[in-house]
Symmetry: C3
């Protein structure tokens, strides 16, 4: 485990600029406090313009100039953008969309993870670049490919995927009868006589069998895992000792990241707070006030959530940090003054070792020409430059510890997100939105959270939150049964078996005795028709999802809906939440869960958030107005004031 004193980095594309600019670029990077430069992830056609015709010189020279300036390099495999000549050689390498059409050359990520030919090409170019730069002293880290799955590319509906899926199914189930049982093909006469009869689960008359789709998603994750692992194996061999990263994204669940991350050292992600807020409507609209108040800073919990999520999979880097307006959201506002500095401090607070800004200089051509950089297209500093510099100067004055575990674990499973969508009782249910609502409620009580998978060691936590973990593995069930922590679960936890069937004992299945509740009926409500409820003299509303059922012996209900149905079930040290309660009540319920777990609760003003990092409490203000740190926080100010301006940061020396 390395120390995570934060550093700053940048994404740089020497291939976009005249070679005579490289030297001054490198010098200005150093002056700005940058220490790490990412290179070459979209450079394949510049390296190999035709098969076997290589041009390494430009990259050799770029590496040397950066190295001479004292910069470290994150070298990338360029597999996200195979050249046109390669696509023309093997057109069936293209990914296919869900409508069954090839997704052509002309932008990026135009390949299927399941295509054996392209997998060979991926290994070939990885080997070549690793052979050339793997032992270079300035190359201190690697990134595989770029943003796996971006633009819905984790899943390809192509012939190569179909063929691979059949083999994967045969390998998984061994006999077709086992598959027929697992999928329940007795329903609608869907029985298969052999694995070769199985198609991809799309273009059906009405919805495909959800077990079939779930398996295809799992297969698709396995293809991403193999693709990544093949590159990693080569890099480990040819570039020993360098940590390897991949740059994940925000709000992206189309493959299970953990099997991929298992082969890597660093779990980095690309953080674009403003664009993400615009796009959050796709997972259930944030409330209107937040859309307006946070237009120029982003959702106050979204970045933190992803820092915590990815830190659970490896060393945390922010590989791409938004430095100004981006070009890809519905609309693209300019960040608030101070936002770039605030985002950087927040990342560091959550354990990021590196905050790497995307990109050095705004490029004046092609698809992303309106995406800001640290420099304007004419080379002058863009507004973000001084905020990056300010951050690294201020951060350097502070004493950072390696991130310690929080006392609260929130279990997030990618498969649960797929399953919640496949089990289509409600078009208004977003798994990510529910999990984020719970995470937000904890933060509104001043809590710090670790986000972990089902297989994590849960022994150190005081409070374990299990929201909508649709399938509970035996390992997780055992851990929860044996845990002495406070457990807060539901709704939808344990709703399905691993094969996407309703558990024989009804949900929450293997957590039923823990929950003390047997779920018999789902009341899936239109989002605009919530139900009133009350809990301990607090009135509130429950929306979208509510579960009805029977209390088991020993369990008790607390709170009720307008028709008298139970809201929260208590059973020994476990609480089961039967529905999706709206923000106000969710915050109150979470506060009690925290208190029951022996944790401090702080009533945070709107948009103020805090994260503990070692001895520091790092506060951020995502709101449009100044806010004051509550009196319940004591300690010495290390940075800023107790009143934070918009986009402000303050740090208290922790004494509790």
């Amino acid at each position: 485990m390395v120390n995570y004193t934060p550093n700053i980095g940048v994404c740089y594309y020497p291939e976009h600029w005249p070679e005579d600019q490289w030297q001054s670029d490198a010098e200005r990077m150093v002056q700005a406090g940058i220490s790490q430069v990412r290179l070459a992830e979209f450079s394949w056609s510049k390296i190999e313009a035709r098969r076997g015709e290589f041009s390494w010189g430009w990259l050799d020279r770029a590496v040397e100039i950066l190295a001479q300036a004292g910069l470290s390099i994150t070298m990338c495999t360029p597999t996200a953008t195979p050249p046109k000549w390669l696509v023309d050689e093997m057109p069936d390498m293209l990914a296919y969309d869900a409508d069954g059409r090839p997704r052509g050359f002309g932008s990026r990520r135009h390949y299927s993870f399941a295509h054996k030919g392209y997998r060979g090409e991926s290994r070939r170019i990885t080997r070549l670049i690793a052979e050339r730069y793997g032992q270079h002293p300035a190359v201190t880290a690697w990134q595989t490919d770029n943003e796996y799955g971006c633009h819905d590319t984790a899943i390809s509906w192509c012939p190569a995927a179909r063929d691979g899926f059949r083999l994967w199914l045969a390998d998984t189930y061994q006999t077709i009868d086992r598959l027929n049982d697992a999928w329940g093909t007795a329903f609608w006469s869907m029985r298969y006589a052999s694995f070769d009869e199985i198609e991809l689960p799309h273009l059906t008359v009405t919805e495909a069998n959800p077990s079939h789709t779930l398996d295809f998603y799992r297969f698709s994750t396995e293809m991403v895992r193999q693709f990544n692992a093949e590159q990693v194996d080569i890099l480990r061999q040819l570039s020993p000792g360098r940590p390897i990263a991949h740059n994940y994204m925000g709000m992206f669940d189309q493959f299970d990241h953990r099997p991929v991350a298992a082969a890597l050292d660093i779990a980095s992600w690309d953080s674009y707070p403003i664009g993400m807020l615009q796009n959050m409507a796709s997972v259930g609209a944030p409330d209107t006030d937040m859309l307006t108040d946070c237009l120029r800073v982003g959702d106050p919990d979204f970045q933190a959530f992803h820092h915590d999520l990815y830190r659970g999979m490896g060393r945390l880097w922010v590989m791409e940090q938004q430095p100004g307006p981006v070009n890809w959201a519905r609309t693209n506002a300019v960040p608030a003054d101070g936002a770039v500095r605030m985002w950087s401090f927040e990342a560091a607070a959550h354990g990021a070792e590196l905050i790497s800004y995307f990109r050095w200089r705004q490029v004046p051509f092609a698809q992303e020409q309106m995406h800001a950089g640290l420099c304007l297209p004419d080379g002058r500093d863009a507004p973000a430059m001084k905020e990056a510099k300010q951050f690294i100067d201020e951060a350097g004055q502070l004493s950072w510890d390696a991130p310690s575990s929080a006392k609260i674990a929130l279990i997030y499973e990618y498969e649960a997100s797929w399953m919640a969508a496949l089990d289509g009782q409600s078009a208004d249910f977003s798994h990510l939105r529910l999990v984020l609502d719970v995470y937000r409620a904890i933060r509104q009580n001043g809590g710090s959270v670790d986000i972990v998978g089902s297989a994590a060691d849960l022994s150190g936590y005081s409070l374990i939150i299990v929201p909508a973990v649709m399938t509970v593995s035996d390992k997780l069930a055992d851990a929860l049964h044996q845990s002495t922590a406070k457990i807060f679960m539901g709704p939808r936890t344990g709703a399905k078996t691993a094969n996407f069937q309703i558990p024989a004992n009804l949900p929450p299945g293997n957590l039923q005795s823990l929950a003390g509740f047997v779920i018999e009926q789902i009341d899936a409500l239109p989002a605009n028709q919530p139900v009133s409820c009350k809990w301990r003299n607090h009135a509130g509303r429950l929306h979208i999802w509510h579960e009805r059922g029977q209390l088991m012996t020993g369990a008790s209900a607390e709170g009720e809906t307008e028709s008298g149905l139970p809201l929260l079930i208590h059973n020994d040290r476990t609480s089961y939440l039967t529905g999706w309660v709206e923000t106000g009540l969710m915050t109150l319920i979470c506060a009690e869960q925290m208190r029951d777990a022996g944790l401090d609760v702080h009533e945070m003003p709107e948009y103020l958030r805090v994260r503990q990092s070692g001895d520091m409490l790092i506060f951020t203000n995502y709101g449009p107005r100044p806010v004051t740190i509550p009196d319940t926080f004591s300690g010495r100010l290390l940075l800023g004031e107790r009143i934070l301006p918009p986009a402000g940061v303050s740090i208290l020396s922790s004494d509790n």
Copy 2:
């Protein structure tokens, strides 16, 4: 005509459950009061796992167990779900969507009605199952296939349909010049030189010729008719004396049901009140209050409308009755307490001989695992079980007569619905919504209605309503001209010839002399820009559609729009409504039509509805609050009280 003392039934899938459960299932069915069990409509691959390899034993044993328990069986042809091996044998049997893509295996209804090969397979499997069970004493009825047209499958845009359509056109028109004249191909240079030049009316640059599309819809209906009739012919031969049903759907007009129903004995339908209310937005949104107030019971007129519609085509069964939350609407709420009982009574009130719940036990796997049954997946009773039992117990105490004709006939034509959509003056016009608005207005005045086709015998009616019957057949025109009943027609009645042309004498064409009005211009308004109007001191609004024209000699106008244009035209015993008036005014206008026809009018409280059945007046409360039966209804209470709770039912002995 059989007596329709209501019975209850259930849909049962022995193929989903271990054989050792079947016996206890049968016994519990009998205990619940169930007498009829539907079997096997999705069982093909269980019967014939590979071509010619038959497994009849399981079905033989299921039939015996049910028969031994005293249950009657509705046996089904399993053609809605052809097995994968069959699709692989003849991939061109698949239906194609309007975009020209095959709709693949993996769910259900993956076949084209026009495919000759599949038609042969349909006859083959029908013959086999009829040979085996046709004479079994417990098999008392048949169902052909399942939900013809579900998931937009009545119309297939496949090569087999194109080839069949050309032959059908040649047969219909005999010479290409007749077709050119009928379609008006002089327009836009669309002239055809031979039937072989004709394509399906899709994938054109802008909209296709509406006469062309109308003929393709008619051809598609003919394919459904033939498909069904072929099965019926075999069943009549091999299972004599058993009535044959098909289970239609709600809000579904994609084929003309009457030619299909003509070959059958029973017109059954699948009634899902809650899901249907959610989906009604697709035919023009119900008002917001109703969406909220009726969330857990459904639209108060929707079920009644369909009972009346299908009773006009044969003996009425409800083949599938919603027993709890379903899985296929946007969101899926739990029904109100009492709703299952209320729906059952309402069906019986409208003449249903059988109310058959879907399904016996919630199945824990595959696509419909979240669809409730009478039993939970673990076998215990679901909440609906006791309501079904209560219904059959209470119904058994009452004396039911065969349904007598109402005094009001509402003419509904499927082709009119297609034509209203094809004649696209307004994206906001829904034919079904308009007809339902008129039907609702009659019911809000306490009326009972028969819904009939253009060819029906209209002699017994006091009031004949002809709303938007776009093409009026000569037979209907004659019947209306000769009738002595009060006639209430328009808007859009008689708007087109049978070939989808504007009548030479302008609309309402062959009803012009009856209507006393010549329509010259259509004012098609955005739904959110209604026009004020008044009628007999009542202010109201007209929306979406208004017709302008000239009064003929002898006719008089009553009511007017804000710009002084006529609202209602009276001509002798006929009234023509020139526009779509909103609910309040529509109810008042319909009340007068009823009075003019010599019928009683009752002012029904919101959400209270009544249907006469023999000597009984059966009241249902679809609202969220208690309502009182108006004093204008006298008689002895046979069930319930004069104040009905939400989802309540009361029955008065009729004395008027």
Copy 3:
């Protein structure tokens, strides 16, 4: 230059009607004051039912009957609707949609401009019809094809287009390296090794390179230009002395009209005010009040804008004028009483020589049977007939001059519209909506405008408006630098180079020294989140788009946003508007621009508009209530009163 004393015309389809009606039709046309009849644009299959089998007789006779009645004829080439036999001969002549699917026969415009085979057929049929009627004395004008581009047909994604595009690129760039530089293919590894590698810019994983797309749009315009020019060459040769027109559309920018218009004499367009208002939502919704108030007359500036736009490309005709409800908008209301007369006067006011109503008689069959004509389908006059007659009678009493240039030039470029959309910073930005907002603001100040292209002679203007001209040609830049007029530009003016790159000196590029402003950041805002601003004590709002940057020496800022950023930059005789201000403030700012240019400003009441034509000031009232001409207008009334009723027209003899 001919005198433009307005005439009226009509579109007539003898092929739709029995021949024995033609004579009386012609006589009634003459009685109505009609002098010009358009013929035959959809008649190909009637002329040539099979290849080489010609039927000219019917058209010969129709021409003779019209000629004998004294009517002049606009003859058309029938290439918009190739017959089915031709499509069957060469199926690859079909246009392909952006999804890559052929757009089939069955409606109209089913051809690709890039298909060499169809281009040959276009020349063949043009030659045949020109040979037959080119020298006929009654044939006084020609129309090529019909509504190029209607239904998104200007751009075809077909193999013929791909092949042609490659050749066009090779011709344009000469070497592939020049293309690589122009497109910036160093980005995302998009480098091409040869022109043969280049695909059409669609079906990519994420957005295609905007330079690539821009070039494909340019190529597509070139195909339209060639197609039209080939017909024109033949017509010039075989029908000398007759002016040639094409009928363009409203709100249509999918090809650059000016290169097409360069080969023609007359720039006519098809004016459907009511349908266009309904469809304007697609370019940013008009405010709700206008949608309601103008439902039956259309947007008060939309028609004028297009008259001014097309008059900038040739002699102005309105080839198709809406005479009643149309059939193709979302909903289709009846026009207000007087609207047809008002639209006709307005067209004449803007310089239209001919207003030709579409169509003579409503056709009772096929796709447009609900589209009104001057006659009802049964032959009687429709309401529009008397308004057309009234217009031509009244217009004949007035003295019309050839249209003189206005003092205000607004520069509109089609490529700018494409580029604004391609540079997707905001889904809420509509180029046409912004330009129309500026045009509206001028008109709300009583101004008259010429709309011209970048290459126009700007010497006579007092005020030159350059709104969002994304790329400024060297010629335009020179003209503006040398002009002594007041210049009002921005936002987005000069934002890109001709290759769709950000200018090296940053926007507004070659107008930077004129503007006195360097644009560094775009603040692209959601339409529902405007920013408050003020200008000279006037409060207002800025929405959707705002540019931030640096003032250059000598420039000054006026007005500011809520965060203090500059709104309007003054630099010598130039003003640069940094954002999209809403209507109220836009009108005030434009008033000052007009005053600074020495022009009169009138404060027009809502919905009242005026256009100067020679010595006449022609007023129109697009509002639902009477309005009064302001006292600032003096002069003698030539028509109407100073108070205009809804849809009213008044004319003052100009004395200023």
